[in-house]
Each structure stands twice: as structure tokens, then as C-alpha cells.
């Protein structure tokens, strides 16, 4: 029994999941209908569905970020890429004669995604070919990217009136929010491709030592290109969802701070920033923890401005609980308990 418990506690997803359950419990106390999911007009409704839907953009970016971090990199430019992709899509829809036609929306989405591929290749070029440290390489696009997005929107907030585009953010398909379906597809595809093939292992080997993996025959450079491009692609999808949700592209605020949330989700999920080992499932839990936290702040009635303080608290608690120091202290405590129990048994 205690051996099973010890193995559970040692699992790297244990503390993040505990944190998620604690947040759920707080919500349930503050709002008894928290777990109720109802079907209204054929659509699923409820707090849990809201958490999934609002957390979808962060999760999608976090999936790309997980792979980048697994190569010992980091991508600070995802917020800017999200803003660019939203700006591109909205300006195309606004400029077309038939903004409500599905064909226009398809073209807008395709162009936005293609541009994100270019941006991803750019980041990959700086990191893989020029060998610039990832935090600085992506800082360039982070700074310049918002400027590019503003250039596309000409400094305005572009609002569009296009039901098919809006559906990306707030629509439903078979009763499930489309944003959640997109997130599930991205997550599933990334998990399948990297875990059912050797790709994930190659990514991890590049994270451990790019030079050694190159000499072992892994094409480190190509892999770096691929992960940065994939990360930018994910950021563009998230940008489309965020923009579609409000039906407006705001170059300054779309995806602001989302890179930090995504990195946080990855780290809460137990992926080390030192690279070489990653867990997509952990990232999923991490993203859920962050979104549930934001929702909790709203349900409990704390002023939303204080959200950042609570985020800091949760990050600190999860990191401290996951730390090897804590694990050692806990195992020492358990050993002492076991010794005491043993003695008690011997006396009686």
C-alpha cells in the first residue's frame, strides 16, 4: 500500500494533478454547479467546458513550446506570431468582397498559417544555422513581430463580421467547442508523431547534446528547424482562435504574455527547461492548471487584477513540491514514520 503511494508521489505528474484537483475543489465549494455539464441547443455548456475552451490557445502554444524546450531552446516570439496571424487573417477577411463566405475564411486562415511557417523558419535559421542563443534569437521576432502586426493592421484594431471565422473561436461542432477540437487535434497529432515514431527521441537527443547527436547521425539542424516552425505554426493557430473569439485583431494585445503562460504550462507539467526530456501529457495538465486557476479567481470573487499574484503562488507551490529537496524531505519523513510504526508493532 505505502509502496504504491510512494510510487504515485514520485510520479512527475502527481503534484500538478493534485494542484488541479485542489483548484477543482475550491471551485466546487464556491460554486456548487461547477461540475455540471448541460446540453443546451445541442451544445455542451458548463464551467469545465469553459475552462477547456478558454485554455485551448494556451494549450496549443504550449504543445509547440514543449518540443522547442525539449531541444533546450525557448521561443519568446509566440505571442507576436499569434498577433501577426490574427492580423493577417482579419485584414484579408476585411478586404474581401464576401467576408462571410467560407472560402474567404479558408484563404485567410491558410495565408496566416503559411506566414507563420515563414516566421518559424526564420527563428529556426537564427538558432540552427547562425547558432544564436534561442532566448535572444526569438527575442528579435518578439520585439519586431508586434511592429509587423501593427503594420498589417495599420495601428488599428480590425473588427470583422464573418460568422464562419467567428466559429473558429466560439463555434461548436457536434456539441463540442471548435477551439477544443482544434486543440485536441494539435495535441493528438504532436503526441502521435513524436511518440509513435523515433522523432521524439531524436528531439530529446538534440536537447541533451546537439553536437553528439549530429555525430551519431541525427540531423540536429533539420530537427531544430522543424520544432521552431511547428511552434510558430501552433502559435498561429492559437492566434486565429484568439482573434476569432473576439472577432477583432489587436496587434498590441493579442497573445500578450501568452509565451509566459505557455512556458509555465510546460514547466508545471514537469518538462525541464534544461532540455532533453519532455512530457506532452504534463503540458496538458499544466495548461489546465493555469486556466482553472484563472477561472477560480473569477468564481471565488477575487478581483481579476490579482490573478498574477495567484499565478505566482501556484507556480511557487508546484515547483517547491516537485523539487528533489522536497521529495527527499518527504521520503525521510515517511521512513521515520515507518520506523516508528515498526517499533510500535514490536512493543505491542
Amino acid at each position: 500500500m505505502s509502496a504504491l503511494l510512494a510510487r504515485l508521489v514520485a510520479h512527475r505528474l502527481f503534484w500538478p494533478i493534485v494542484m488541479l484537483l485542489v483548484l477543482f475543489a475550491i471551485n466546487l465549494v464556491a460554486f456548487p454547479g461547477f461540475f455540471t455539464v448541460t446540453v443546451r441547443e445541442g451544445h455542451l455548456f458548463g464551467s469545465l467546458i469553459d475552462i477547456l475552451r478558454n485554455g485551448a490557445p494556451t494549450l496549443i502554444i504550449a504543445v509547440g513550446m514543449t518540443l522547442v524546450i525539449a531541444t533546450r531552446g525557448i521561443d519568446l516570439s509566440v505571442g507576436a506570431v499569434a498577433a501577426i496571424s490574427g492580423a493577417v487573417a482579419c485584414s484579408i477577411i476585411l478586404g474581401s468582397p464576401e467576408p462571410a463566405s467560407p472560402a474567404t475564411v479558408a484563404v485567410a486562415v491558410a495565408v496566416a498559417l503559411l506566414i507563420s511557417l515563414v516566421l518559424g523558419v526564420w527563428n529556426g535559421f537564427l538558432v540552427a544555422v547562425l547558432g544564436i542563443q534561442p532566448i535572444i534569437a526569438t527575442l528579435i521576432l518578439m520585439t519586431a513581430g508586434r511592429g509587423v502586426a501593427m503594420l498589417i493592421t495599420e495601428g488599428q484594431i480590425i473588427t470583422v463580421n464573418s460568422p464562419p471565422f467567428k466559429a473558429l473561436g466560439s463555434g461548436f461542432w457536434f456539441g463540442i467547442p471548435i477551439a477544443v477540437i482544434i486543440a485536441a487535434v494539435v495535441f493528438g497529432a504532436a503526441a502521435l508523431i513524436t511518440r509513435r515514431t523515433a522523432l521524439g527521441m531524436f528531439i530529446e537527443s538534440v536537447g541533451i547534446n546537439p553536437e553528439a547527436s549530429r555525430q551519431a547521425g541525427v540531423r540536429a539542424r533539420g530537427l531544430l528547424f522543424a520544432v521552431y516552425t511547428f511552434c510558430a505554426f501552433c502559435a498561429a493557430i492559437a492566434g486565429l482562435i484568439l482573434t476569432a473569439n473576439t472577432a477583432a485583431a489587436d496587434a498590441n494585445n493579442t497573445g500578450l504574455f501568452i509565451e509566459l503562460d505557455a512556458i509555465l504550462a510546460v514547466v508545471i507539467g514537469g518538462t525541464s527547461l534544461a532540455g532533453g526530456r519532455y512530457s506532452l501529457l504534463g503540458t496538458l495538465v499544466g495548461a489546465l492548471v493555469i486556466q482553472t486557476l484563472v477561472t477560480t479567481v473569477y468564481t471565488v470573487g477575487i478581483p481579476p487584477i490579482a490573478t498574477m499574484v495567484f499565478k505566482a503562488a501556484v507556480v511557487t507551490v508546484v515547483c517547491l513540491l516537485q523539487s528533489p529537496t522536497t521529495a527527499e524531505a518527504l521520503s525521510g519523513f515517511r521512513r521515520r514514520l515507518a520506523v516508528r510504526a515498526g517499533k510500535g508493532a514490536a512493543v505491542s
Binding site: 535572444i136 527575442l139 528579435i140 519586431a144 509555465l264 527547461l273 532533453g276 498574477m308 503562488a313 529537496t325
Partner: protein
């Protein structure tokens, strides 16, 4: 883990050019001496930065009327005094191989604390020390989290950033202006240097901080330990250096510098606003990196970081002199110049491989 493995190899490789096996720069012609200087991991990047800074300044002087003056240069210091102090603290952290993302938020928080306490009638001579103590304690907590609980610096300082930024909003959601007489006087005071040139008291404070930092890093045990940790923490431990204490202390130094920078920033803006200094941590990191300090730690100079700040400042000045750039072009321009700079630095120093 990999850092521990490859770190001890680096100092060995770096020392070789200075060793007895190869003649130093003096033994060869001037050309190869310059090449040795540029390709040395220790002096190369910072030399390139200095040359590029001069080049930008000369280009600006040729292109714009009135650019090539002492006051334009002094204004770089006046406008960026707080960033210099931030970059000094960040240099200590990055030299150990860490990073501090909280500095921008701490600058904003110091401003908010100063503005709100001064508003309720506190004396500035209590407020300023209080801010410095509080931000140092925050640095201490971050340092303990990193060292004792092995939390990655990026995440520990990200948490500190959220905390500081959140506390700003809790104090007030709108701007609080500062009307305290001492602060106002410090804000408008100019110290004449002759020839119509002048600086502010903030510049003197920043330069004193730089001088102390140079002394600490190059002439004290603490400074040597900072470099040793960046070169290889394990080796430092085996050499019996106080690794734990030093690693925690660099975050205290960074916290203190952020608090001081926050105070200097309020002298500059005379208000506290929760949204100020967003992204300043990245400016500070960029300045340190442009100044030739490796993000992996072990190599770099405080004076390099000061040069890095001046480079960022001169880019801003050029944009101001250009005058016609709209706000989005400014962002793109900064990004492009940063790129050109990093690539040039990369190309000029890459030959050591």
C-alpha cells in the same frame, strides 16, 4: 546535467591562448594580435561591441546634424541610468549561468511602493531604504528557491515577476504621481560638466554602482566565485568555494539593483504606474548579451553590459533623430538593428571554432 559535463572543458580551452605553448599577441604581428583579441571568448565579444558602438555613433554623426555632441552621449547615460543599474545586477546573475526575469516588474513595483507611500506622507529617506530592503529580500527568496529547492532560475524569477506585477495592480490600477519635494528636486537637478553639458544625479548613482560592481567582480573572493560558478558549478564546489552562498547572493544583488533602478526610474518619470517597464527585463538581458556575456555563464564584464545599454540607447537615439518613424516602424527597426548587431557579433567572433 550536460552543462556540468561540458563546463569544465571550457576554461581549459579558453586558457590555452594565454599559456606558454603559444606566443601571446605581443609575439606576433598587429594583425594576428587583433585577431586573437577578437576571437578570444573573454575579450572578443566586448571588443566587437565597443567597435560597433563607435561605428553606430559615427554613422549617426554623419547622417544627422547635431548628433555628434557630448550631450547626446551624456543623454544616453541620463535616459538609461536605471537600465545600467538593472544590467549590472543582471550581469551578476547571468555570469553564474542564471537569469532574472523579475527585474522589470520589480522596477514597476518599487515605483508603485514609492509613489503610494510618499502620497501618504512618508519621508523619502525612509521609503528609499525600505524599497531597497524589500527588493533585496525578494531576491533572497528567489535565490533560496533556486538553490535550496533546485527550481530553474527562469521559473523562479518568472514567479517573482508575476508576484511583483500582481502586487503593483493590488496597490493601484492607475498611475500615482509623485509630488514629494526631494523626489522632484532629484528629478530636475542637473549637474553641469562645463561646455553646456550636464548630467543628472541618477547618472552618478549608476556610475557608482558600476564602479562597485567592477571592484566586486574583479577584486573580491565573491566576484571570483561568481565566475567560477558560471565556469562549472561542480568544479567550484570541489574547489571548496562557497557556491551556495554566492548563488543565493547574486539574486540578492539583482533584487537590490532592481529596487535601486526602480527608484532611479521614479526620479525619471515622477510617478508610479503598474504597467511601466514591461519588457525591461528583456532589455536588460539583451544589454548583457550584447555586452558579450554568455548566457551560459562564466565569461563577461560589467563594463560590457554598460556598453550593451549604450548600444540600445544609441539605437533609440537614432530612431528619435530619424523622427518620422511611426511607433510600429520603431519596433521593427529596433528588432532589425538588434538582429544586425547580434549577427555581426556572431560573425566577428565565430572564427574561434
Amino acid at each position: 546535467m550536460t552543462k556540468l559535463l561540458d563546463a569544465p572543458a571550457r576554461p581549459g580551452r579558453a586558457k590555452r591562448p594565454a599559456g606558454p605553448g603559444q606566443p601571446g599577441p605581443s609575439g606576433r604581428s598587429l594583425g594576428s594580435g587583433i585577431r586573437a583579441l577578437l576571437t578570444s571568448p573573454k575579450y572578443g565579444p566586448v571588443t566587437v561591441t565597443a567597435v560597433l558602438f563607435l561605428a553606430i555613433f559615427v554613422i549617426g554623426g554623419v547622417r544627422y546634424r547635431g548628433f555628434f555632441s557630448g550631450q547626446v552621449f551624456l543623454n544616453l547615460l541620463v535616459d538609461n541610468a536605471y537600465l545600467i543599474v538593472l544590467a549590472v545586477g543582471m550581469t551578476f546573475v547571468i555570469l553564474t549561468g542564471g537569469i532574472d526575469l523579475s527585474v522589470g516588474a520589480v522596477v514597476a513595483l518599487s515605483g508603485m511602493i514609492a509613489a503610494s507611500l510618499l502620497q501618504t506622507g512618508w519621508s523619502p529617506w525612509t521609503v528609499i531604504p525600505l524599497i531597497l530592503v524589500l527588493t533585496s529580500v525578494l531576491g533572497l527568496l528567489v535565490g533560496l528557491m533556486i538553490h535550496v529547492f533546485k527550481v530553474q532560475p527562469f521559473i523562479a524569477t518568472l514567479a517573482a515577476m508575476f508576484l511583483a506585477r500582481g502586487l503593483c495592480y493590488v496597490i493601484s490600477q492607475s498611475s500615482i504621481s509623485i509630488t514629494d519635494e526631494t523626489f522632484v528636486q532629484l528629478a530636475v537637478a542637473r549637474i553641469p560638466l562645463g561646455g553646456g553639458m550636464s548630467i543628472t544625479p541618477s547618472v552618478i548613482i549608476a556610475l557608482v554602482v558600476v564602479a562597485i560592481a567592477v571592484w566586486v567582480l574583479h577584486a573580491t573572493r565573491f566576484g571570483r566565485t561568481v565566475y567560477a560558478i558560471g565556469g562549472g558549478e561542480q568544479s567550484g564546489l570541489l574547489m571548496g568555494l562557497p557556491v551556495a552562498r554566492t548563488k543565493v547572493l547574486v539574486y540578492v544583488v539583482s533584487g537590490f539593483c532592481s529596487g535601486l533602478a526602480g527608484v532611479l526610474f521614479t526620479f525619471y518619470t515622477l510617478s508610479g504606474y503598474p504597467l511601466t517597464a514591461i519588457g525591461t527585463e528583456l532589455d536588460a538581458i539583451a544589454a548583457v548579451v550584447i555586452g558579450g556575456t554568455l548566457l551560459t555563464g562564466g565569461y563577461g564584464f560589467v563594463l560590457g553590459s554598460v556598453l550593451g545599454v549604450l548600444v540600445l540607447g544609441v539605437i533609440q537615439t537614432i530612431i528619435t533623430f530619424e523622427g518620422t518613424l511611426s511607433s510600429w516602424w520603431t519596433k521593427i527597426f529596433i528588432g532589425a538593428l538588434l538582429l544586425v548587431f547580434i549577427i555581426l557579433q556572431r560573425v566577428l567572433t565565430a572564427r574561434r571554432r
